[in-house]
């Protein structure tokens, strides 16, 4: 957590008071919550009433996709199609699949190109074919694995023209690229605290005032009757502080980290000439560098780099912790071997050139060793 966010958290957590209570302590907490709501709204180009606090990205995605689906289908039974990109985070993808399996939703997955980017024309065709039968469209602002930035403004415009609500998961985007809820034209947007230096366990769904959304959680109706549950005043205060700082520093961050990242990519490709950079080479998140190392297994490479103090990820992990080939890379047309040979290096606020020097010192040897280690797969 950022020091400023932590300080805001501690200050608010010292105060007693439930923001829903009417007594003085409650009023004080309420004020902290509402000021936080206003600060977040101002930072992301939304109205305060459009900020629905949640427990984080997963809840916000579930609320948007299920809640808007249910509300739309309640208004007309044949509005039962869910459209999402093939590279969504599991919080959106699995939610859509659940609606398909349990709520009779029809699903349409928007394909991506080799860089992981959705072509707006593909959404146009679906809107043409199904129109009002589409309950909700959900496309991430930027991909969490390969970092590709999606053309969400254009997608939102197409959906709005057809009268279909458009949701975007902007968890990866906030603080990395400019985010403006109103200008972007989405009906709903997911953001979360811990990706911007705030606390884990607090996030928000930005939800247009006229967008109907059936609640997931029933109870006191604290958040516009769309979300119930006593608010975490301290978490919300820290979240607001982190969002403000992330948005204010976004341009400088993108420039500094983006140039570090470009350096990393250049040096990795120089050191391992057949390494493949995955994702859009230009239109990508500043801190994301994602490669396939042909002939290696990502988990072997991770083990070797981890042992030398370099932290990286192989992508999505399944429940048993076995690295499955990433659905994102498969959707981009990679085969299973290439998907399994992939590794993501993420840079952030604390990253320095020294980190990149250390990675490059370890990487060539690790790649060479990991390549030798694939022989174990050959059956005897």
């Amino acid at each position: 957590m950022l020091d400023e966010a932590l300080a805001a958290y501690v200050a608010a957590a010292r105060e007693a008071g439930n923001a829903s209570s009417l007594h003085a302590a409650g009023r004080h907490a309420r004020r902290t919550v509402e000021e936080s709501r206003e600060r977040i709204a101002a930072a992301v180009g939304a109205r305060p009433s459009e900020v629905i606090f949640t427990s984080g990205g997963t809840e916000s995605d579930n609320l948007a996709v299920k809640g808007i689906f249910w509300a739309r289908r309640a208004s007309s039974l044949n509005r039962s199609r869910v459209v999402a990109s093939a590279v969504e985070h599991h919080a959106v993808m699995d939610t859509a699949e659940w609606l398909g399996a349990h709520e009779g939703a029809q699903l349409s997955w928007l394909p991506v190109d080799a860089n992981g980017r959705v072509d707006p024309a593909s959404l146009g065709e679906l809107l043409e074919a199904y129109g009002e039968e589409i309950a909700v469209v959900s496309v991430q602002s930027a991909n969490n694995e390969v970092g590709t930035i999606q053309p969400v403004a254009e997608l939102a415009r197409l959906a709005a023209q057809a009268g279909v609500p458009f949701h975007t998961d902007a968890v990866q985007a906030l603080g990395q690229i400019p985010v403006d809820f109103t200008a972007g034209g989405a009906a709903a947007m997911t953001i979360t605290g811990h990706k911007v230096g705030g606390p884990v366990g607090v996030g928000a769904l930005l939800l247009g005032r006229d967008v109907a959304c059936t609640p997931l959680l029933h109870g006191g109706g604290q958040e516009r009757d769309v979300r119930s549950g006593t608010l975490d005043t301290a978490g919300v205060a820290a979240f607001a502080t982190a969002v403000e700082i992330a948005v204010k520093g976004q341009a400088a961050y993108a420039e500094r980290v983006g140039s570090l990242r470009d350096d990393l990519v250049r040096r990795v490709v120089a050191a391992v000439p057949d390494a493949i950079l995955n994702g859009d080479p230009a239109d990508r998140l500043a801190g994301n560098a994602h490669f396939s190392f042909p002939g290696c297994e990502g988990d072997a490479l991770l083990l070797l780099l981890d042992a030398q103090g370099v932290c990286c990820s192989t992508g999505s992990a399944c429940s048993a912790g076995v690295a499955q080939p990433s659905h994102v890379l498969l959707a981009m047309g990679a085969d299973e071997d290439r998907a399994r040979s992939s590794l993501r290096f993420t840079l952030g606020h604390t990253s320095t050139m020294t980190d990149i020097d250390e990675l490059l010192a370890a990487l060539p040897g690790a790649v060479e060793r990991a390549r030798r280690a694939t022989a174990w797969k050959t059956p005897r």
Binding site: D299, A300, L303, A320, G321, V322, A373, W376, K377, P379
Partner: protein, 359 residues
């Protein structure tokens, strides 16, 4: 040393990893995911391949303070252990999948990958001793001894194996786990075959191999006594489940004497016809001195030992038992011991009945 600790999620492998770490080795924990779909393998405390076991292993690694990864060995396990298990039964033999897993997965696929990644050895929680003299020996806990299922390892495999538990009893291992704060200290032991979720081996084989009706015949007279749904459903020495309508002339129980896959025939006879005195085995691993040699042999996991004269010629091991053994099944391992030390191991191909050996 840089060592890789195979961590099943059970108490033994957790303590083995902890001991290796305490001994100053650079330990990395690895849980082997062996099921293509983890939910299909047995659940709960009996297993070693479930999601819960994977979490238990990770939790233990975190407490010990070592890096931990999950390695997906499902394809290798299926090809080398599960498919082999089914094929062996189909061939009328009785395989030992735990032995096979040690031979082909833990000390081949995993060990090879570990060595390629720069590790010096693989640590497991097996109850067996492997001392500085290089001899594989029984655990001090005779009841938990696993040297029988490790005897298949070659010299090269043993040279890269570490078994830290061989000098301790299971009770001591559990005590130590509790003292080290490992939550698996009182986790029940696993017993059954890990890839047969409900413990119903016959049902599993039936699903894999389908129905193949054949005859049950008398070993002495050749008379057809009944029929069966699949010869793989029988193991040499088995008495129950024959479902014979014709009682033996002398009214005594009958046992499975042999299984002949070519004719899909199960041969039965009286108990004394199960007695064998000469065993022939192939796929020999031999660490002992030149043969013939007087020693003891063990013919199944946790089975009794028999004094024998063992001769190794080429890839054939012949054991002449001092006293007859009963119910010796092809496919099982014969392991030769001198005292506690493992001299060698081989896979039983044929057991010659006492009567024939005398003739």
């Amino acid at each position: 040393m840089r060592v890789l600790a195979a961590m099943s999620g059970g108490v033994d492998s957790a303590v083995a990893a902890a001991r290796a770490h305490a001994a100053g080795h650079d330990v990395t924990g690895v849980h082997l995911a062996l099921a293509r779909n983890p939910q299909t393998y047995r659940t709960g405390a009996r297993g070693c391949c479930t999601l819960e076991d994977s979490r238990d292993a990770r939790r233990a690694a975190d407490v010990i303070g070592i890096p931990f990864y999950v390695w997906d060995m499902a394809e290798q396990f299926h090809a080398n252990v599960v498919d082999d298990f089914v094929a062996e039964y189909a061939a009328g033999r009785t395989p030992n999948p735990c032995l096979r897993c040690n031979e082909k997965i833990k000390f081949e696929a995993v060990l090879d990958r570990a060595v390629a990644l720069g590790f010096d050895a693989v640590v497991t929680g097996h109850h067996a001793r492997l001392g500085a003299d290089g001899w594989l020996r029984r655990s001090v806990d005779q009841g938990k001894d696993q040297s029988y299922v490790l005897a298949v390892l070659t010299r090269a495999q043993l040279d890269r194996a570490v078994f830290p538990l061989g000098d301790s009893t299971k009770a001591q291992v559990r005590e130590e786990a509790a003292a080290r704060g490992l939550a698996v200290a009182d986790k029940p032991d696993s017993h059954d075959i890990c890839f047969i979720a409900d413990g119903d081996t016959q049902g599993f084989l039936q699903r894999q191999l389908g129905s193949a009706p054949g005859d049950i015949v008398d070993g002495r007279t050749g008379e057809r006594l009944g029929s069966h749904d699949g010869a793989y459903g029988f193991t040499v020495g088995q008495r129950k489940g024959l479902d014979l309508r014709v009682p033996a002339a002398d009214g005594r129980p009958r046992y499975v004497l042999s299984i002949t896959p070519v004719t899909n025939t199960v041969t039965v006879g009286p108990r004394e016809d199960l007695e064998v005195s000469v065993i022939e085995a192939g796929k020999v691993i031999w660490h002992g001195s030149s043969t013939p040699l007087e020693c003891e042999v063990q013919l199944r996991a946790h089975g009794e030992v028999y004094p024998a004269t063992v001769t190794v010629e080429g890839d054939t091991l012949t054991a002449r038992l001092a006293s007859p053994a009963r119910g010796v099944a092809a496919g099982q391992a014969i392991v030769a011991y001198q005292g506690d030390a493992v001299l060698g191991s081989a896979t039983i191909n044929a057991a010659v009945p006492l009567a024939a050996a005398r003739a």
